[in-house]
Symmetry: D2
Subunit: 383 residues, 4 copies
């Protein structure tokens, strides 16, 4: 039986553009479905560069204006890989044109903008998803299964950190290729929107609604050269952001992110402590899930390091890859996400996180930044 | 040359009484000094039990009233191992009698009480020290040396956690042997005074004054049987306490403690991130110090796990123990502390933390509890 | 400039067939070169299954007889992914037809057969390589660089293990899909040829010639159902194989492999101890290299865990992937190997290991099995 | 009730003398028994040094001739802490004088000598024990319990290593304080007798008789200054020793020891792989036992890191120490051994390993050295 085509038009071709494209190319081999992904077009302002990217990565053709891309009839889905400040505009246009939308995280610059995006895709009834790819690391997905099976009992604590060290140098500019994350106008926020967004997304998925938060932010390097103006300008983003709070289920939150933790490259760690079981995961060893099972016999009770690589249904996604013991990489989280998205198209049960799911993270981020500014506790909003 | 006698009178004989006594007995062999420690007397209310303890542990005789103990002429130093609510009263009496004082942590029920104790010992000019023993774990002392050598550069972050799981059971009573830590009247606070006190003490030692804090506390089990009244009563202590804040040196604090983190027995971890070096330590593997040295060559840069067991001056205290690779235990931190205290007597440079040093921790604890109660930022007081 | 085509014809489509194909598909995006890899054809006996594989993985067409495949004019390279007993026959035919050859490891059933293959490819002057893919794990390649830079000083010890546990069940048959590795006729040997071959390949690459060996083998499950005869038959392979020996450079070898080490899935570990530096690597955490640098200052000397994920030239291959901290998987070792092979075609400097390089491993394997049989030391042969 | 006195006379006061003495002083507090240990006398040739040691460590008096010590009426037990070449002579004399004997490991210079010692203590019917103290590390004792409970099922593999790096420097002399271990005449052997002896003792205790072995030894530094002759002399000891073999229960052995493994201080590791459970232990993290339990549910199966610090009967010896999470050190293994020895005196069931138990290790060592010399397999002898 012939497969249906799923023709992708991607906006942007940076780090995420490469990661998504690799996933689109891999998914058909490892996770065959009703759909064949077609790399139809990629859009970016620089005609030469986008052509080179398209040639190397196998896109059929290119656009230099995303507005044209979203209007093309030969495209089924728009993948938004731009800096954050363009997400909403592109998404609204794509929804208006009836395209499925796969949007990089965070969904939006803030919850108000995100809400408009949610309303647009829901009104247009187009499939939609946000690339919170860490949900699809097999060890993380396994953790979710254990939680859903009720193994943790009453939850007391949830803590997450995302620590990096790449912006310690004060001569790093704000803006420019790969550095738009330091530019408030393009990024909307600093580590909160970039790093904590991942931590919050997983937390809400694992542990439910976060009711109230209290936050602290800091900008260690106050001024940086701006690549667009050529001048030293005030840095508007948060270099570090820490918050605690309370989940609806009564458990306590402790979150921290920074780009000034020397020695850590991308140390996203999470831990959830339940009455009966605790779980710990660490992006630096992403193929392992640490499990403490209080139901184990006392004298041999300890933290188990589960190497989530069994090629059996026991370990999510891994039956499609290699043999036990052979780890897959960061990149496969995107492949898994495309696979789930396509399965959602087939089954009519949309893969998470949808725009609406991801909007919850925006409300938390808004509350966090608001709390840090006001220096007081803030209640998390809701749609 | 004959050694001077250092005749100890100890009040209390619980967990800490045993730990201190082991140290008193060991110190002369491993850290010979000008002093010979003499276990002169131990005091506790139950005459039979204290006699049994004295016999087993080698105290010459006993008292059933600590007031008599502190007045005895044949005693040079009073070691206070009682629940927290008795520290001040005993210390004031001991100071009035001209005794050196070694007091269990935390120094006092609060800063006001602690300040009185400081004033008393300083007025009486008696040697004084608080048993913040983790300073004397060799790996922790090594960390302090590296910090003092200026290797870290500008510090950005300091984080510490102390996680336990022993009070999850709701049928655990408050009060009674070993359980006075759950009784507000005896303990003064919950995990903040018991666990965070250690974390704060090390932090102030490593990273200087903490200026402002913002805290959250929680009591998960609201009522417990009280062993003194025999009735189910409200639990007054904090079961969990999280706070963040700002150090005087511009770095950010993130602290957390709880007795509801399933899977962790006594997981005191600390990490300090400097521009040039980061350090991490973990009580569960207390003989190791993790060091990330940014000055290492790029391609072989990584976290080093230093096994702090070299019997050379390189590794603090370890030249007095065994051979490289053979770890000492938790208990030796007390032995080291006595050794340093006695050396302080000889040199006239008091071993830290003195009562005055430990008072700083009380101000932080007061601010933390005040912040949690008011749900707002609080400035840490000072003497 | 148009790229040259590199048209691959693959024989077999099992675990390795999938791994190689993924690499062929990925290489052009991540490691662009003068060549475009074209998946021209795949061959296997079952017409329906091979057609399904070709459709899913993107091969243009299929063959059911590998003899036809090797004779096709539209194919530049033959990739041999069959059980070991077919390697030689296919390779000889491919060489005779002037094809480049990429052969799965081990090269051959024994050194005599391997020597014929070497002679054939050298006579035919066709590019050739054996898929000892672990050389291309970035952490392993980094280790090789450190060794080549002379950082280790005099080497004293080299040890490697490859531990698995998947054949403990005695009701597992020998022969059949995925189980030909238990069938002596198809595999030629057990863990020695399957697992130790990897360990030996890396060892010779890192540490030079192995002169003499002394080995012990064991077959724990003596009889298993054979899927071809349907009868319970004697098991001819080695279930476990341990050997020690002496390298030409004076260092000592200790190697072990087994499929009966409960708890280990694919635990290939290696360690090399030099006077100035030691290195350790572990396939279960393949993205890390452990380094002990004796030249580090004494008090902060320890094993460093290097997360080999910097996207800089510091860390081999990683500049082509993501950002620091984000690990790639097992699969990328094949992508790297194809990239190196294609670069070798361009530069005329063949990528290692060539058939001749891989022949050395066969001589060691022959000596190991001979030693185990004779229960005495054996000198390793050479071509 | 008054305790019986157990009056110790110790020969030698080096590293082991200190370790034993610390244990004698601690045992009464932590493991009260029917006996009170009395440090009666210590013997060594240098009158001044032995006096200083006695004063510092609390021995009542001294001897400069061990022959006098063993004849003293006021002594119940002789503790032999000398270099290996004096063990037999002292033990025979002590037995002849009816003393209990606690002898440092290895028991003897070889099995023949060891057999005489066994016969002497058995004829004299004196309590006897060899200080293979690693049996009393709580994590090791826990492993033994799990094995004795039959949890492992059929055992396939036992491997152990003891890696050090302290003799790499070629200018280290042989002989002299702390360096008699490099002198064949004093030590009898190199790493085999010093390090492998520990590994073999544990292995026989855990896994039963070892039937056959095949070994390789190496002396990397061929000549060293001898402190007694003042000349550079040939080094007679083994610097490294590796062997494999077969246990009576059908499992395979792989053992290695060296003092040339840069980066390892005292890395004694052991692993036993059973059909149903595997265990791993590492002296560098002596408070942890790693357990893989195949009976765990598949999806959460992994290696558990058990922190053997519960103060409950679950964790051997730990109910006598502190609270959960607080590790004890290397030194406590001696305290536990004295406790068990004294309990053996009370119950009449001698604590292991007795001289006879330890003789088995001598037979294995003899076979190992014989095999290395002859370069062939050797059958382990028996009494």
């Amino acid at each position: 039986m012939a497969k249906k085509q799923f023709r992708v038009g991607m906006v942007g071709y940076g780090f995420m553009g490469r990661a998504h494209t690799n996933a689109y190319k891999q998914v058909g081999q490892f996770f065959p479905s009703d759909y064949e992904v077609v790399l139809q077009a990629v859009s970016a302002r620089d005609a030469g560069k986008v052509k080179a990217f398209a040639d190397q990565w196998g896109y059929a053709n290119t656009e230099t204006d995303w507005r044209k891309l979203v209007e093309r009839k030969d495209i089924d889905a728009i993948d938004i890989c731009t800096p954050n400040n363009l997400h909403a505009e592109i998404a609204l246009a794509a929804a208006a044109n009836g395209k499925a939308i796969l949007c990089e995280k965070p969904l939006a610059m803030d919850a108000a903008e995100g809400l408009k995006m949610v309303e647009a895709v829901e009104k247009a009834k187009v499939p939609n998803m946000v690339w919170y790819n860490y949900r699809r690391i097999p060890a993380v997905t396994l953790a979710k299964r254990l939680i859903d099976e009720g193994r943790l009992g009453k939850v007391f604590h949830y803590r997450a950190k995302f620590l990096q060290d790449w912006t310690i140098k004060s001569d790093l500019p704000q803006g420019g290729a790969g550095l738009w994350r330091l530019d408030l106008a393009a990024a909307g926020a600093g580590v909160s929107g970039d790093l904590l967004a991942h931590c919050i997304d997983t937390a809400l998925w694992f542990n439910g609604r976060l009711d109230t938060v209290c936050a602290m932010t800091e900008t260690f390097v106050k001024e940086r050269m701006h690549t667009q103006t050529g001048k030293v300008e005030k840095v508007g983003i948060d270099d570090a952001c820490t918050f605690f709070g309370r989940f609806e289920n009564g458990s306590l939150a402790n979150f921290e992110s920074t780009r000034y933790a020397r020695g850590h490259k991308a140390l996203y760690t999470l831990e959830i402590n339940g009455e009966d079981m605790s779980l710990f995961w660490d992006l630096h060893d992403l193929h392992r899930l640490q499990i403490f099972d209080y139901k184990d016999e006392g004298k041999i009770r300890g933290w188990k390091s589960v190497h989530v690589t069994d090629n059996s249904p026991d370990h999510p996604y891994m039956d499609k890859w290699w043999v036990p013991g052979l780890a897959v990489g960061y990149d496969t989280s995107f492949t898994h996400q495309v696979a789930d998205f396509l399965e959602g198209l087939s089954t009519g049960k949309p893969a998470s996180p949808t725009f609406r799911d991801a909007l919850e993270t925006q409300y938390v981020l808004d509350a966090v930044l608001d709390s840090a500014k006001k220096q007081q506790w803030v209640t998390v909003g809701k749609a």
